[in-house]
C-alpha cells in the first residue's frame, strides 16, 4: 500500500468522516450537538470497554513482556512535558503558567487518540500488544504532575488564605487526577478484566465489543462539534501554538516509535505508543491545570489540544507513526 492509499483509506474511515461531519456541522453553525449525558455515557462506555478488554488480555500477558514497554512509557511520560515546556517557554515565549499548563496536556494522553490508533493499526493488519491499555494508564498522570511541578516554581502565595479557607493542597490535586473518571474507569476496568478473565468476558462481549466501533463514531461526531466550537479561537492562539500543535506530536511520536522498537514492541504496538506520546490530554489535564495554574489561559491549552493536535493525529499523525514503525520494523 502506498502512503497515498493509506492516507486515503484513513480519511475515508468512519471515525475520521464522522469527526469531519461534526466539524462541518459547527462550521455551518448547526444546532446539532450530542446531549451532554450521551457524551458522558459514550466516554464511560469507551473507557470501560477499553479497560475490560485490556484487562482480559493483560491476564494472558507475561509480566516480563510488559516490563520494558512500561519503563519506556514512563520515560515518555517524563520527557514529553519537559520538551513541551522548553519549546513553549523559550521558543514560543509563553509565560511560565501558560507554558506549564500546555505542557501538562502534552505530557498526558488522549484516550480517544489511543483508540483511534489501535483501530487504525488493526485495520492495517497489525495486532498491537494486549497490554497497550495498561500502558495508557501509566502515561496518563505523570506528565501532568511534572508540568505542574515546573509551574509551581512560580506559584507564590497566589491564593490568599486570610478568610479562613485553606488553599488547595497538592495532595488534593493528586487525589483528583488519580480518582478522576478516566483513571478509575481504565484502571478499574483493567482490574475487573484481569479478575474475570476471558470466561467472564464472553457474556458481556456483545455489549462492550460489538458496539464499540459504532459508539466510537458517535463519540467522534461530538468531538468534531467540540473541536469546531474552538476553531474561532485558532486566531487567538497565534501561529506559534499552531505550529507547536503539529510539530511536537511528530517529535514525541517519532521518539516513541524508536523507544517502543527498542523495548521490543510490535509494529502495531509502536504505532499505538507513538499516538499516545504524541497526543494531548483534554479530559484529565484541563481541570488540574485550571485549579493549579489559574493564570494559565484555558483558550491556549484547550485549543491546542482539541482543535490542533487531536485532528492532526487523527488524520495524518497516526498513519505517519505507523509508516515510521513499519520502516523501522523492517530494518
Amino acid at each position: 500500500m502506498t502512503t497515498f492509499e493509506m492516507l486515503k483509506l484513513n480519511l475515508l474511515s468512519p471515525i475520521v468522516l464522522m469527526f469531519a461531519l461534526g466539524l462541518f456541522a459547527k462550521l455551518i453553525r448547526s444546532e446539532l450537538s450530542l446531549p451532554k449525558d450521551l457524551y458522558t455515557a459514550l466516554s464511560i462506555y469507551l473507557l470501560l470497554a477499553l479497560g475490560l478488554k485490556g484487562g482480559v488480555e493483560l491476564s494472558e500477558s507475561s509480566f516480563s513482556a510488559l516490563a520494558l514497554p512500561a519503563l519506556v512509557t514512563l520515560l515518555l511520560g517524563s520527557i514529553t512535558p519537559i520538551t513541551s515546556y522548553l519549546s513553549l517557554r523559550y521558543l514560543g515565549r509563553f509565560s511560565i503558567a501558560d507554558a506549564a499548563g500546555i505542557a501538562a496536556h502534552y505530557g498526558s494522553v488522549s484516550a480517544v487518540t489511543f483508540i483511534a490508533s489501535q483501530q487504525f493499526a488493526i485495520s492495517m493488519g497489525e495486532t498491537p500488544e494486549g497490554f497497550m491499555p495498561t500502558l495508557l494508564t501509566l502515561l496518563e498522570s505523570p506528565g501532568i504532575h511534572i508540568a505542574l511541578a515546573i509551574g509551581a516554581l512560580q506559584r507564590a502565595k497566589r491564593m490568599a488564605t486570610e478568610s479562613g479557607v485553606e488553599a488547595r493542597s497538592k495532595i488534593a490535586i493528586l487525589h483528583e487526577i488519580l480518582t478522576g473518571r478516566s483513571m478509575v474507569l481504565l484502571v478499574g476496568g483493567l482490574v475487573v478484566g484481569v479478575l474475570m478473565g476471558e470466561k467472564g468476558y464472553v457474556p458481556i462481549k456483545p455489549f462492550f465489543e460489538g458496539g464499540f466501533k459504532g459508539a466510537l463514531t458517535l463519540f467522534l461526531l461530538e468531538m468534531g462539534i467540540v473541536a469546531g466550537s474552538r476553531l474561532s479561537d485558532l486566531r487567538r492562539v497565534g501561529p506559534f501554538l499552531l505550529a507547536f500543535g503539529i510539530a511536537i506530536p511528530i517529535l514525541h511520536g517519532t521518539l516513541a516509535v524508536f523507544l517502543g522498537h527498542w523495548a521490543g514492541l510490535s509494529i502495531g504496538g509502536c504505532t499505538v505508543l507513538a499516538a499516545m506520546a504524541a497526543s494531548a490530554s483534554y479530559i484529565a489535564a484541563p481541570p488540574a491545570v485550571r485549579m493549579t495554574l489559574p493564570e494559565a489561559n484555558p483558550t491556549f491549552y484547550l485549543t491546542a489540544s482539541l482543535a490542533i493536535t487531536f485532528p492532526f493525529n487523527l488524520v495524518a499523525g497516526i498513519p505517519l507513526y505507523y509508516q515510521l514503525a513499519n520502516w523501522l520494523g523492517s530494518h
Partner: protein, 100 residues
C-alpha cells in the same frame, strides 16, 4: 408564619471551582446550598470547560455577615483569574433562624 430577612448569595462559576467552593461556603458559615447546572456567557471568553459555556450556579441563604465574608472571599480569590459572578439579593426566609 414568621419569616426572617436574610441574604441570598448567588454565584455562577466554572464547574471546576464547584466542589472547592462548596467546601469553602461551609467553612465561611453557610448551612447549605442549592446547585444548578447552567449555561453562561459573560465578558471573559474563557471557555475553560470542555463544552464551552458550561457553568454552575450556587445559591446560599446566609446572614448579612456571612454574605459579606463569602463575597470578599470570592472577590479576592477567584475574581482575578476565573470566570465568576456573584450577587446578593434580599429575601424573607421561613424559619430563617435555621440558616444563621
Amino acid at each position: 408564619m414568621k419569616t426572617t430577612p436574610l441574604k441570598l448569595v448567588t454565584i455562577v462559576c466554572e464547574p471546576v471551582l464547584t466542589e472547592t467552593l462548596i467546601g469553602e461556603l461551609k467553612q465561611l458559615g453557610s448551612t447549605g446550598f442549592t446547585l444548578t447546572s447552567v449555561r453562561g456567557e459573560g465578558s471573559r471568553q474563557m471557555n475553560s470547560s470542555e463544552v464551552p459555556g458550561e457553568k454552575n450556579k450556587l445559591e446560599c441563604i446566609v446572614s448579612e455577615e456571612v454574605s459579606r465574608n463569602i463575597i470578599d472571599h470570592i472577590a479576592r480569590n477567584y475574581f482575578p483569574s476565573y470566570s465568576v459572578i456573584a450577587y446578593i439579593t434580599e429575601t424573607l426566609v421561613v424559619r430563617g433562624d435555621k440558616y444563621v
